[in-house]
């Protein structure tokens, strides 16, 4: 159990270190990332994939069904291709049409199921689904790459590798909905199924199947165009295509609203790192694996491109960091010491940028699947277990909890305008979460409860005015407006990684840092911020396709040769 690592463990990084936005915004995927854990399970349990239906025309319009038998249950991705005019293509949640729309169906859909879905799934938020659908999603083509790939394949040639790598996907999802949205199944209905126990498992499976659809679609359209000449994608090239995603603010409140889940994710990762750092001696196989991943990582970083003015300068620094790491380990001296991985980590902590340090966290876990992969099974949580407020605690004790867990917040002076420069709100238009500038825009009176640091400061002031021995139950009877904050403080008292330890309404707060952290847990390898509020990413780039899963253990697929 990751609980074996207590706060007293010097190898376990503290929440004050890891729960800061700057470091969270430098996170990279690891072995524990959700889509890697999914594929490990699919390989281990020999999930059976098939494509029972593919009725698509030359424009990409039609219906396809991808099926997977995973243990006791069968899941079907039902895909609808549409003919989307270019001027209607937008990634924004306010879009109303897409190149393709999808639902993950629980079981094998009948023709009647598919017709019902056809009437609703292409309408996305404007339609209604049933609990037989687990996930609702949609995707748009990469205009750059999709046509190039079809053209190349139709002419009998492979697409240009550079073009492939530059984009990394044929289609990108613009929303992947789960857990009861728009009528689909609540996660509670299926989370007890072992293959669905991991976080976002249904969503990750959906995206994996969408990926197969995107390459099948391009190959198929090429073949329709030139049946005698068209070729299919060469497998190594095909694996360089993932599924893109445009991730915006919609994802950000999730981490704040699920404190126990966040704690579980973080402590699994940190416990994994601590385990690896405590290894006394490293054998040749582990060392080789590490160096191989490092070499691959350097190539990945060399190809990482973004125009974002904040992220772009960090990449060459990361490249230099990794070169320095290679020089540091190449001599082999560090491996002759005890706890060499810990030696490497401590060196990185002193010498490298945050991106470099977090990249090394990812590298360190790579050779040690046998030691850490089990932690991926401990990343689920039920927020219900921390919902109850302990009304018997005294105000003095609650105050002590705040001083202990929220020192980072109570020192802030919220009278300074910059400290409350932003506010989170939900827009009337498509019910999107948005960030507003308090001084410039209306709506701050409808602020969402994401201003944790400020709310904790206000609670603290109220508690300091209350009798030390007064019970929280009485206090809340008098001052019910602090209830949501009291709940958070009580969660933090037990689960120290539950809170992002930065002011989420500070004028300089970058929401992309929150988005990146969550996406790193998903298993994203390419982060391309387009502003401080959204980014383009790719999932599954490098991963084996369903038909390839049985051909090897693919453990290091995310580190291309």
């Amino acid at each position: 159990m990751s609980g074996e690592r207590t706060q007293a463990d010097p190898l376990l990084r503290s929440p004050d270190t890891v729960m800061r936005l700057a470091r969270m915004g430098s996170a990279h995927q690891t072995r524990l990332s959700f889509l890697r854990a999914l594929l490990r399970r699919a390989i281990r349990e020999r999930w059976q994939f098939s494509r029972p239906r593919f009725d698509i025309d030359a424009r990409g319009v039609g219906t396809a069904v991808y099926q997977v038998v995973a243990g006791d249950y069968t899941y079907s991705l039902v895909a609808f291709g549409h003919d989307l005019p270019a001027e209607k293509r937008t990634d924004r949640v306010i879009a109303e049409e897409w190149d393709a729309t999808f639902a993950l169906f629980d079981g094998v859909p009948t023709d009647a199921d598919i017709e019902r879905m056809r009437a609703n799934v292409p309408r996305q938020e404007a339609g209604r689904c049933l609990a037989s659908e687990l996930v609702l999603a949609r995707a748009n083509r990469s205009v750059r790459l999709f046509d190039h790939v079809v053209d190349a394949l139709a002419s009998g040639a492979q697409p240009d590798m550079e073009a492939l790598e530059a984009t990394g996907y044929l289609m990108r999802t613009t929303a992947v909905y789960g857990n009861g949205k728009f009528g689909i199944a609540d996660r509670d209905r299926f989370k007890a199924r072992s293959e669905m126990a991991g976080p976002f498992r249904a969503e990750m499976l959906t995206v994996y199947l969408i990926r197969a659809f995107t390459t099948d679609l391009a190959e198929y359209m090429a073949r329709l165009r030139a049946p005698d000449r068209a070729v299919v994608l060469q497998p190594a090239l095909r694996r360089r295509l993932g599924v893109g995603n445009a991730t915006g603010l919609g994802m950000a409140p999730f981490l704040v609203r699920h404190p126990l889940l966040l704690h579980r994710w973080v402590i699994a990762r940190e416990a994994a790192l601590a385990r690896v750092r405590s290894i006394e001696a490293v054998d040749d196989a582990a060392r080789t694996r590490f160096l191989t991943a490092l070499a691959s990582g350097r190539r990945l970083v060399a190809r990482w491109h973004t125009d974002d003015p904040v992220q772009a300068p960090r990449i060459p620094i990361l490249a230099v960091d990794l070169e320095r790491l290679e020089n540091f380990v190449q001599g082999g001296a560090v491996f002759r010491e005890t706890r060499p991985w810990d030696g490497i980590y401590r060196w990185a902590e002193c010498e490298l940028s945050l991106e470099g340090q977090e990249f090394i966290v990812s590298l360190l876990l790579e050779p040690h699947g046998a030691l850490v992969d089990e932690l991926a099974e401990e990343m689920s949580a039920d927020e219900d277990t921390v919902f109850d407020i302990d009304g018997g605690r005294t105000c003095g004790e609650l105050l002590a909890d705040i001083e202990h867990s929220y020192a980072w917040a109570v020192g802030l002076n919220f009278a300074q305008p910059e400290k409350t420069g932003l506010f989170w709100y939900v827009s009337e238009e498509k019910l999107e979460p948005r960030l507003g500038v308090r001084a410039d825009e209306p709506g701050a009176d409808l602020e969402q409860p994401l201003a944790v640091a400020r709310d904790v400061s206000e609670l603290r002031a109220a508690l300091r005015a209350a009798p030390t021995g007064e019970r929280v139950g009485m206090f809340l009877m008098r001052e019910p407006q602090h209830r949501h904050t009291v709940r958070r403080v009580q969660v933090m008292a037990r689960y120290p990684y539950a809170e992002i330890r930065d002011n989420l309404i500070d004028g300089s707060m970058r929401a992309v840092d929150i988005l990146r952290y969550k996406l790193a847990f998903f298993g994203v390898t390419r982060f391309d911020p387009r502003s401080d509020k959204w980014l383009r990413i790719t999932l599954y780039q490098g991963a084996p396709f369903p038909s390839e899963l049985g051909t090897g253990d693919w453990d290091d697929w995310i580190w291309p040769a």
Partner: protein, 216 residues
């Protein structure tokens, strides 16, 4: 109409907030609504009625160990009373509440105090119900909306000789479908809409994320 539990909880949260509840109490309302929806009870019409009457409902006040109305002649909001009761049951073995409107809403709050040898017994003039340590709710509990205004006594019973059953977090299996009354749902959406900020061109460009044209 068929809805998901997530939609029940999400809408209830926003509707309660839109009607003026603090975020913490709105969270409680949402939790309780979800719980009642799993019981297939008409939480939606009841919540609409509560929100519409909010000016004629009082906050609770503590008098000794008892929860009473803070405004003479007005009944107590059951969400607020339920939250207060759940808090106080960490302190006292029993709590008596007076004049709680629609007291069925107290049941989900009482439920979460059960477990680990703790069961709950609820009594009122002319009736009683119970929740076992395992979270099983007696049938009378779902009749609690008919309890007239007056006293309700909620008592925690600890019996260490009873098996230490882990309280199931969902007290019952989720029904095949969750039904909602369309008129009530629409009314809740009206309340929820009060929490949304109308879009302006500026907010659309600045606040959300992706730009207006994403062809790449």
């Amino acid at each position: 109409m068929i809805v998901s539990l997530n939609e029940v909880e999400s809408l209830s949260l926003k509707a309660a907030r839109g009607a003026g509840m603090s975020w913490g109490l709105a969270e409680e309302a949402a939790h309780a609504a979800r719980w009642l929806a799993v019981c297939s009870w008409a939480w939606d019409r009841s919540l609409v009625a509560l929100l519409e009457r909010r000016d004629q409902i009082a906050a609770p006040m503590l008098v000794g160990h008892d929860i009473s109305s803070s405004r003479q002649g007005l009944a107590i909001c059951p969400i607020h009373a339920g939250a207060a009761m759940a808090d106080l049951l960490h302190l006292h073995e029993s709590v008596t509440l007076y004049d709680v409107l629609s007291p069925i809403w107290l049941v989900p709050f009482a439920h979460r105090r059960t477990g680990e040898h703790r069961s709950i017994e609820v009594a009122w003039a002319g009736g009683a119900c119970s929740i076992s340590a395992g979270g099983a709710v007696s049938a009378e509990a779902l009749g609690m909306q008919n309890v007239p205004l007056g006293w309700i006594r909620v008592e925690l019973k600890t019996d260490v000789s009873s098996p230490n059953v882990a309280r199931p977090l969902t007290h019952a299996a989720i029904p095949a479908s969750i039904q909602a009354d369309p008129a009530a749902w629409a009314a809740l959406e009206q309340w929820a809409a009060r929490t949304y900020v109308p879009a302006s061109l500026q907010s659309r460009l600045a606040g959300a994320g992706a730009g207006l044209s994403d062809n790449d």
